[in-house]
């Protein structure tokens, strides 16, 4: 027998589904996703064909060409735009409309708790986002139909990143709608949060330091990590903690029955608690490299050798945040070191190399310290840096495994049929379905 609570939850799910289906913001999002995804996919397939040698380009380019970078990431890049600029409005509408229409006052007097209501809204919005993936998944299916290669673990990682980002966006939008009086203000607050993360991204690139550490957990940066095929536990947990924190804020601010004092008294512990949990989650080093070309990992022999290093590895980098050598180091070496060595601490010492700043005498140096041993080199090349670390650890460099290098999956095809599907078929289908479910049934009677 179904419990009353289960019945109430089922009713709430049905209500949210209906409200979402009747939302024009949701309709616009679904319609626009067709051309957005279509354009991204068509451009990606054409570029992939060029790199694969379709235009008579250098044959060497085709080696190592990866569908993850060439097709999956750019195609789903359309969703990064949609989740930033369109999806928040769908989420805000689901809360603000009930607040402004008075429906919230009725629901707050019903049996289901406010927490249940908010959770149901979040689940329905996330489910809606999964439905919005249909054009993206159709694009991947088309790619397969063209004879293209796809690696399931890579796709799963990219989709996990997009799903987490959408979940956090929903929670922030719900919190903004709860905190503000109307949908317009909530939209401004949500976009301000997004702009804030972009500003942090910019500051991190220019100044490094704490901003760089925080920037790793912004939705943009987190997505970039997932798009590289790395599934990082800390990013998953931090995103989920932030989502929970935003929902708790909504729970505090949504009911009109709470006083200003209660708002403040309950908001502070939520912010502090979220901060503590985020800090704790950020300390976790567990991560999985699910990319087909193992771009986030050292060679297996090197990984085995480096995993025997038990002492903390301290790295001091004398490079400005905007120096391209630093980006090479971070992407090519530091990221892999963090995944392999238990305790890696990297400090950046090179700020102040701006337009009018004079670089210090150590500028360009990278110091590696393991226990009492220290060594410096200026290289950004993986084998040279590994040699330095092996030397500090007193380990003999391992012999290379006789594994075959990633050979890539070149494919020179034209995106036939894609324009018709995404520019015409998908928008027509969405509008037709919306019209069928929304057409007026009776005229006003009095």
């Amino acid at each position: 027998m179904r419990s009353p609570d289960a019945g109430s939850r089922r009713l709430l799910f049905g209500k949210e589904r209906r409200e979402l289906a009747s939302s024009r913001a949701w309709l616009v999002l679904l319609v626009l996703l067709g051309p957005l995804v279509g354009h991204a996919f068509i451009t990606a397939v054409e570029s992939y064909a060029e790199v694969s040698g379709a235009g008579g380009g250098p044959a060497a380019l085709a080696q190592g060409v990866s569908p993850l970078d060439g097709i999956v990431v750019p195609t789903f890049g359309a969703y990064a735009i949609a989740v930033t600029l369109l999806f928040p409005f769908v989420a805000i509408r689901l809360v603000s409309s009930e607040k402004q229409s008075g429906a919230l006052k009725l629901l707050l007097q019903a049996r289901p708790s406010l927490g249940t209501m908010l959770l149901v809204k979040l689940i329905v919005l996330v489910a809606a986002w999964l439905l919005a993936w249909l054009p993206g998944l159709a694009a991947l299916a088309l790619w397969r139909a063209y004879g293209g290669h796809l690696a399931a673990p890579e796709i799963a990682t990219v989709l996990t990143g997009h799903l987490l980002r959408a979940t956090l966006t929903c929670a922030i939008a719900i919190a903004a709608a709860a905190l503000t009086d109307n949908a317009a203000t909530a939209a401004v607050v949500t976009l301000a949060v997004t702009l804030g993360t972009w500003a942090l991204d910019f500051v991190a690139q220019v100044h490094g330091g704490l901003a760089l550490a925080l920037d790793a957990y912004t939705p943009e940066s987190a997505l970039r990590t997932f798009e590289s095929g790395e599934l990082r536990l800390s990013l998953v947990l931090v995103t989920l903690v932030l989502t929970a924190g935003a929902l708790l804020l909504a729970w505090v601010w949504l009911p009109p029955s709470r006083t200003r004092r209660q708002h403040i008294l309950w908001t502070l512990p939520i912010i502090v608690g979220t901060g503590v949990f985020v800090f704790g989650a950020a300390q976790l080093r567990q991560s999985w490299d699910l990319s087909e070309d193992r771009r986030n990992s050292f060679a297996p022999a090197d990984e085995r050798a480096l995993s025997t290093v038990r002492q903390p590895l301290h790295i001091s980098v004398f490079l400005a945040p905007e120096d391209p050598r630093l980006a090479d180091l971070q992407r090519g070496v530091f990221k892999k070191l963090r995944r392999t060595i238990h305790d890696v601490d990297i400090s950046y010492q090179g700020a102040g190399s701006g337009l009018f700043a004079r670089p210090g005498e150590h500028y360009g140096e990278v110091w590696y310290a393991l226990g009492a041993q220290r060594a410096m080199n200026r290289s950004t090349t993986e084998p040279i840096i590994l040699e330095t670390i092996y030397g500090l650890a007193g380990i003999s460099p391992p012999a290379n495994d006789p594994v075959s290098a990633y050979s890539g999956h070149p494919l020179a095809v034209s995106p036939r049929g894609a324009a018709l599907i995404f520019y015409l078929g998908w928008p027509t289908l969405v509008i037709a379905l919306w019209w069928l479910t929304r057409r007026p049934r009776t005229a006003k009677t009095s």
């Binding site: 109430s8 939302s23 229409s101 008075g102 429906a103 007097q109 709470r258």
Partner: protein, 231 residues
Amino acid sequence: MLNVHFLTKRFGDYWALRGASFSIRSGEVLGLVGPNGSGKTTLLECLSGLLPLDGGHVRSDEPLIPRTGRDVLFYMPDGIVPWPDQSVAWALRFSAALHGATPAEVAEVELALGLGPLGPQRIGTLSKGQRKRMLIALALLTPQPLILLDEPFDGLDLRQVRDIGPWFRRVAETGRTLLLSVHQLHDAARVCDRLVLLSDGRVVGEGTLDELRIRAGLPDADVEEVFLALT
């Protein structure tokens, strides 16, 4: 059923309620009467727990409201347009299912309020009177023993007011209690068993119309004259 003691509510420097006290008896239709701005809606929202009180309390057989208010009373605000994109039939079905009302109860309320023909119509397209009837229906599909209705006659035509009045009495005869906020004095006098007169956030009179006449010293006066004498 409930005793309301010295409720106060302030919005900034403005006192909307200045120590309102009255009682609600089980099974009665009680009219909360007062001019616009007298604090009727604020009083109902405070009773329902939708607005925090600044002072005073409400006693019942149960512990304090608003902590248990959800089990004791249901408040239907005035002027709301809940779920404007959904149909009337859906709203009734949803509300009934959420509050555990039976299909027979839904049919009865639909019939009494003449909502049958409006079933497929979207709530956002209803006229003011149609919407008011739907809101009354939603309120009466809840299980709480006390229903607070804010301006239930606002938007209804004369015939509808005359039809709904006796029906409210029949609802009260089943043991439920209705607290109606009304600014039209004659409607209140026609429908309600007792009246609470509210003026400037204070209760200036409580009782049947005859009791209020005696209190005002106007034994033959109509409700308007009584109200003017007491406020």
